[in-house]
Amino acid sequence: MKTKLLLLLILVPTILFSQHKFAQLKEELATPNVYRNAAGAPGHEYYQQQADYKINVSLNDSEQTIHGEETITYTNNSPDHLTYLWVQLDQNRKSLDSDSKLINVEKMENFKSVNQLELKTLNFDGGFKIKNVSLSNGDEINYFINKTMLRIDLKEPLSPNTSISFNISWWYNINDRDILNARSGFEYFPKDKNYLYTIAQWFPRMCVYNDVEGWQNKQFLGRGEFTLPFGDYEVNITVPSGHVVTATGELQNQKDILTKIQLERLEKAKNASEPIFIITPEEALKSEKTKTKALKTWSFKAENVRDFAFASSRKFIWDAQGVDINGKNILAMSFYPKEGNPLWERYSTKLVAHTLKVYSKYTIDYPYPVAISVHTKWMGMEYPMICFNGGRPNEDGTYSEQKKYSMWGVIIHEVGHNFFPMIINSDERQWTWMDEGLNTFVQYLTEQEWERNYPSKRGPANKIVNYMSGDKNNISPIMTNSESILQFGNNSYGKPATALNILRETVMGRELFDYSFKVYCERWKFKHPTPADFFRTMEDASSVDLDWFWRGWFYSTDNVDISLSNVKQYITDSIAGNKKVIIEEKVKELELKQPQDITIGTLRNLESISTTLNEKDTSINDHYGWKRKSYNDSILEFAYNEDIHHVEYDIKTNDSKYYYELTFNNIGGLVSPIIIRAFLEDGTTEIVRIPAEIWLKNDKEVSKVFVFKNKVIGFRLDPFLETADTNLSNNVWPAKKTPSRYKIFMQNKK
């Protein structure tokens, strides 16, 4: 009994301490070592493997199949002797016996129609058919296929700093996206009887072997994408002669493939500041109608990439322009069928160019020679230097504003993936947020520099409150393995992007955040970072203890809901010296004449972004553009006022006579900085910003005394919607009834 009591006495404080909101992340993060140090940087013995590929592939347009053969040269840079190698077979997720189908949880009530039920019996076999695995000298090699993984058994262990070359040949059926949607596939255009192929995860690819996972050979179930070692690629793609092919890397045999005029246009495009056609709409239309059985081979080379994808079609229009990234000229390109116009010829390549510039500013200089956007009907997926993007106007060429923004957002997002995870090569199979979240965050920055007040769907704190205030049974912490995430998009894209935005705007400040974020990107470009490397770097480079932030935002499902639960007013009695007298007068409810809510990012961007792209390039604005322009004017006026009434806060030297004791309650559980706007009787406002550390000793309730020169008629918490506070109605004193959306709509209608 005594032993048990003693154990309890020891354990209880330990448990309590470990659950403290500000407890350091000692147990959650891996111990620093020679491969990854405590500062969040690669350690002095950091290593990574290399996989180089030589591939010949042919695309059969009449049967929609892929046939390929490859030679992989794998270099073991690890200190370990490898007795076997693991190769990924992603296409096997589309094989008939795929686990992905079996593990999808279903109830009969989920099937609302006979058509949906019929899909269950769909018998499409899209798995790899491995024809041969052999050493490069032709000797047989033992191998074993475990669903989406192939193990190569080596006769002799592969020693450190040695290489092995081996061959694999295969084929598979390509899926029709309209029936079986996936990252890779084809779309058939019945009107002109042509196919558009976007081909990815199409060849057996080496798994990553590293100090964190050993072999990253978790089965591919669908959500957790992949991580791959870097390497050099030489790929020959044979297609019908009328097809145009675009791919990861640089085209090597353009003189054999393109016409003289197309070669001249391509050369001209390299230094063009606006997109110019390499293949015009008229040429693409002609090509659509010409179907020959002859074949052509397109050859590409790509250096230091982690994957290779390509697209092929007779329907492609091709345009390109040059982009200067700190003195290096990059070729931004787009490939799209006529069905993508007018949106695609107007915007796609400009979006690629803009994305490269803005991402290079906040992360690392874009290192590859080309960046390519390929049109699809409605999906979005990324690979090195190339991505497949949705956004198709109506058949008559009209489009809604939502469609336009959707297309813009997808292209920025997918081109942005070149940085996360193609270059800053995190493990997507383990952590979706490390690429999607970081990428969505920089996507937001890029959108804001494309068009002022771009209506970004993710990034600003107020965009995540509906998700974070939802039923906790339906929410996962960000630090959840990719396959187990509930509400995938909000969890892995929206919440981490918001968290980084809050770090930047509210917790760290832009200068500290931008510096630290860039340090992380520079440290881990062309390497394999983990969450701990990111967390540690952000703290190490900024001198800001962020363990409370990672704990709350990344390891919990708590939300921010801080209420202003009590306000007491005190006044100095001048006759009785400095004796404070409580004034318990009931403050009359006054109409707080408050400008339209503006997020902190929008407000600061007015100053930090001197000119957005659409302000420089008037061709960006279409018939929808005018609405947002008029909206800008009111923001400018507000920003001006905000600047004039900047708070000066020094209780010792000022003559303020009004003292206010404010009590705050942390209802949501997530500790947060407190931002307070005071509305003074003279019509001015003051802003006070309190760091999250105010909750260090009590994370449930805190109070604070404030001094103002004038009488305060109202307070509001989170006035710039920057903390993701999920309940704004308890942020206001005196309590104020907010008009319903219905009432506002009907009022505006009059």
């Binding site: 949607n181 709509f745 209608k749």
Partner: protein, 165 residues
């Protein structure tokens, strides 16, 4: 057919963007003290409406027109009201469509008013909009009650709530 296939496979395949990854619909409701009628705003993501419109002869552009075409208005009304039902004592309170607003943030707001006065002190709200299409759908109702806001969550496992007015 395409739409059905697309939707049913969304839960299996993930894409990095432009996939359906929101799974929210919202409602805001208030009892007008003068008219004693309920005023309701339904808030949906334009992706959802876009997908729904593919089963009709209309596009999102038609929603931007100053006044909705009669057929579209009826179709929309039926679609929305099949997923948001107000009832009391086995009586359903029909809603009158009052307007629509396409917001910059990609949401679309639909405004309704109850046809009849609400004569009961308690109503049942059934809010399973889009739950037949998306298994992860969770809807939320905010009921504005004087200075208070009451929040009700609707999941496929619980699609209705009893609300005291």
């Amino acid at each position: 057919m395409k739409l059905i296939i697309f939707i049913s496979f969304l839960s299996i395949f993930s894409f990095n963007s432009n996939a359906h990854d929101y799974y929210f619909a919202f409602a805001e409701m208030e009892l007008n003290e003068e008219s004693q009628k309920l005023e309701v705003t339904l808030i949906l993501n334009s992706h959802d409406i876009d997908h729904w419109l593919q089963n009709t002869n209309f596009t999102l552009l038609d929603l931007e027109k100053p006044s909705l075409e009669k057929n579209l208005k009826e179709d929309l009304n039926n679609f929305l009201q099949s997923g948001f039902i107000i009832s009391s004592n086995s009586i359903n309170y029909n809603l009158i469509f009052k307007g629509i607003l396409l917001k910059d943030d990609g949401n679309i707001e639909f405004y309704f008013e109850s046809q009849k006065k609400i004569e009961s002190e308690e109503i049942t709200i059934s809010f399973d909009l889009l739950m037949d299409k998306y298994s992860q759908q969770q809807n939320k109702l905010i009921y504005l009650k004087e200075l208070e806001k009451e929040t009700y969550e609707f999941l496929p496992s619980k699609t209705s709530h009893l609300i005291k007015l």
